[in-house]
């Protein structure tokens, strides 16, 4: 594995290896002195063309705790073909001498394209509506911490699937780990061609959250942008909440130990009620903490692993 662009780049063994190292990193996280020397002298650039707080700071902390020189470059990328080309931008950054490029960009596939242009290791920190592989890894890691093996576990992924890179990475990762995934959304927010895709990839789809929840072993709620109603994806935020939100009533219908996940940032009151977000079974903050450990593990394997491999 040279880059991390998609969950498809990883075998089950790769994922287990990342998790084993992540568990060690998780222990480091709890120490008073958190710094490891593993990536001393290596340079990691967080190249974020899209706003992000949690993913960028999570990668930044992960890099720093591994002693890498971690630099953030943010700013809106050229979103039209009139500005500097994406290729020029990344070649410029990499010409400074970079070992890893952690990249977020509004365009699906951009991380893959960049990996073909540069020598640096490329880690996809979110490419458009395509993938967000470290998010899926940290979600699965946090879930395993709570549930043990995910084999045969029934996991519901609920929300705006069409526009969600978190969904795409998660469905690949969770099914790879043997989970029984059902994705739930109104028909307008299902990805195009999901009928064929779900069949070949081995996950289920549903329009009816209430039918799925009672048997779920875990529920992952995805962020829904309020502006989606402008594209006629759903009528109103109110109706969305009633039909697809994890409301107080639906929280009560869950088994009390069923973990609730949300990649953040949450729209409290829209896709998730405050009671559910703050419930004892909510993994929301565990996900954030797992994020640093998993990203340390990924950086470690992609950068330190280069020499040992």
């Amino acid at each position: 594995m040279k880059h991390l662009l998609s969950i498809n780049d990883l075998s089950v063994d790769d994922i287990e290896t990342i998790f084993t190292t992540a568990a060690e990193m998780h222990d480091v996280q709890r120490r008073e002195v958190k710094k490891l020397p593993a990536l001393r002298g290596r340079t990691v650039i967080n190249l974020f063309f899209e706003d992000s707080t949690r993913t960028r700071s999570s990668f930044e902390i992960a890099g720093k705790w591994l002693s890498a020189d971690t630099i953030n470059i943010t700013g809106k990328g050229s979103s039209t073909s009139k500005g500097e080309s994406l290729r020029d931008t990344v070649l410029t950054v990499c010409a400074m001498g970079v070992d890893a490029l952690v990249m977020r960009h509004h365009a699906s596939g951009s991380a893959q394209q960049v990996s073909e242009w540069v020598d640096a290791v490329v880690i996809n920190a979110g490419d458009g509506t395509h993938e967000h592989p470290t998010q899926a890894l940290l979600d699965a890691y946090a879930l395993q911490q709570r549930l043990g093996s995910l084999e045969g576990r029934r996991i519901a992924v609920v929300g705006d699937l069409t526009h969600s890179r978190v969904f795409r990475s998660n469905v690949l990762c969770l099914t790879k780990l043997g989970a029984d995934v059902t994705v739930v959304a109104p028909p307008t927010l299902m990805p195009s061609g999901v009928e064929a895709w779900s069949k070949s990839a081995g996950f289920a789809t549903s329009y009816d959250l209430d039918q799925v929840l009672p048997t779920a072993d875990a529920v992952m709620m995805l962020r829904v942008q309020r502006e989606r109603m402008n594209g006629a994806f759903f009528p109103t935020a109110r109706e969305y909440t009633v039909r697809y939100g994890l409301t107080r009533d639906r929280l009560a219908a869950l088994k009390p130990d069923t973990p609730i996940l949300h990649p953040g940032p949450m729209n409290r009151g829209l896709e998730i009620a405050a009671d559910a977000a703050d419930a004892a079974q909510s993994l929301v903050l565990d996900q954030v903490s797992a994020g640093v450990a998993v990203r340390m593990s990924v950086l470690y394997h992609l950068l330190a692993g280069e020499e040992s491999a």
Binding site: S78, S79, T80, S81, S85, L86, R87, D88, H105, H106, A107, S108, G109, S110, Q112, Q113, D127, G128, T129, H130, E131, T162, R165, R168, P191, S192, G193, V194, A196, W197, G231
Partner: protein
């Protein structure tokens, strides 16, 4: 072989197989075919054509030459060269240049630059609406009566979305035998960021797409408008099985509807997008294999009249972006014949006469070009193409005479190569190279 030839010199083509049938000689003189049969090469320049197939010079209904405005991507001269190398003797240059071809003056400028290049007959397509804005009609009649004699009108790149404007355009061009070539794409079904076919692949890749229906609703609307107005309508770059069904129905009703398909839609499919390579970003987008099969059948049975390249050169820096941000379009002129030969003749869907029909006769008829697309008979204009039918060619984008390199065929092996192209008896290409 003499290297100095002036118009008026005699050329004898020895042993060419006309439309793949009997081998014969042709004497070309004063821009016309003077004799067919056994002809002595004495006193004439001889082109040995043993084993080569002779077709009437190819005609492209749909080319983007980029001049004026984007001469870094293509010029009328380089685009003409690509056309000649591809076996073409006439091309229709789309109007979406800068400035747009929406006046007689702009049309004449393109026409004159084509004449000056002298490699193919360049016929400007006029815009349907001023500035391609879709609102007011461009000066259709003045373009038609200009020196450029414009007959085909298109806002290509954009759809004439407003039904009222489309209706009026269809009615108006009847006065001078014009035809509207429509880029069928409902903008409300194809969002602003849509960049590919909407389907399983786009769903997995997270790319915003548009579905086949966005094309089909416009095709359906336009054939009904053609019925209402009694006008001709031409459907540019048909890309879906649904559009084929509508066109087949319209023709069965006797409506004056014609259609074209691009070489790339006859072979390339949407799964090429999994590498996010913007070379494969094109509008209309590459579709699933079911559509490709329907398009091939429709071209074979005449539902689709013509192959048109939609040759769309782009400077490298307009393609080296993230997929959603990169420019739409791919090269096509130099490879079209080989693709059609490989896909259609190679699968017994067309014979050489059929290839001549879809790449020369029908496009010439649709565009009203009397000097092109004619049968190879004595007295006909000497516009012809000689093809080595069995040559196996691996496409190299750097071997192109186009200024651009957005070539989706790079690295593919195709069958058939253009050996020579002659425009009014004058060779523009010999042994596969520009003269």
């Amino acid at each position: 072989m003499s290297s100095t030839t002036n118009l008026g010199d005699k050329i004898v083509i020895k042993g060419a197989s006309l439309l793949g049938e009997k081998a014969t000689d042709l004497l070309l003189e004063d821009g016309v075919i003077r004799e067919i049969g056994t002809v002595s090469g004495k006193g004439a320049r001889v082109i040995e054509a043993d084993g080569l197939v002779a077709l009437p010079g190819l005609v492209d209904l749909h080319t983007h030459l980029r001049e004026p405005g984007r001469e870094d991507a293509e010029t009328i001269r380089t685009g003409s060269a690509a056309a000649a190398v591809g076996g073409y003797t006439a091309v229709l240059a789309m109007a979406n240049t800068s400035p747009v071809t929406d006046t007689a003056e702009n049309a004449e400028r393109v026409f004159d630059l084509g004449r000056a290049a002298g490699l193919v007959d360049v016929h400007p397509v006029g815009a349907v609406t001023r500035g391609l804005a879709g609102e007011e009609l461009a000066e259709l009649g003045l373009m038609a009566t200009s020196r450029a004699r414009v007959r085909v009108f298109s806002d290509d790149g954009k759809c004439v979305g407003d039904a009222r404007v489309m209706r009026r355009a269809l009615e108006y061009v009847k006065a001078f035998g014009g035809v509207v070539s429509q880029h069928s794409q409902d903008s409300s079904l194809a969002g602003a960021s849509a960049c590919c076919h909407e389907g399983e692949i786009s769903g997995q890749l997270g790319l915003p797409g548009w579905p086949g229906i966005a094309e089909e609703v416009i095709v359906a609307r336009d054939v009904m408008l053609a019925r209402h107005t009694g006008s001709r309508v031409h459907v540019a770059h048909v890309s879906t099985a649904g559009s084929v069904e509508v066109i087949r129905w319209a023709k069965a009703q006797g409506l004056d509807v014609t259609a074209e398909v691009t070489p790339h839609h006859l072979l390339l499919t949407t799964d090429l997008l999994t590498g996010y390579d913007p070379t494969f970003k094109v509008n209309p987008p590459l579709r699933p294999v079911e559509d490709v099969e329907a398009l091939r059948s429709a071209l074979a049975d005449g539902t689709i009249d013509a192959v048109a390249t939609d040759h769309a050169p782009h400077a490298r820096h307009d393609k080296e972006h993230a997929f959603v941000d990169a420019a739409f379009g791919m090269l096509g002129l130099e490879t079209a014949l080989a693709v059609v030969n490989t896909v259609m003749r190679g699968n017994d869907l067309l014979d050489w006469a059929g290839v001549a029909r879809v790449m020369s006769a029908s496009p010439a008829r649709i565009a009203g070009l009397g000097d092109h697309g004619q049968e190879l008979v004595v007295g006909a204009p000497a516009n012809l193409t000689l093809i080595d039918p069995d040559a196996s060619v691996t496409v190299d984008r750097d071997a192109s005479v186009s200024l651009s390199r957005n070539n989706p065929w790079h690295g593919r092996t195709l069958t058939g190569a253009v050996h020579a192209t002659l425009l009014r008896g004058e060779p523009t290409v010999l042994e596969g190279k520009l003269v």
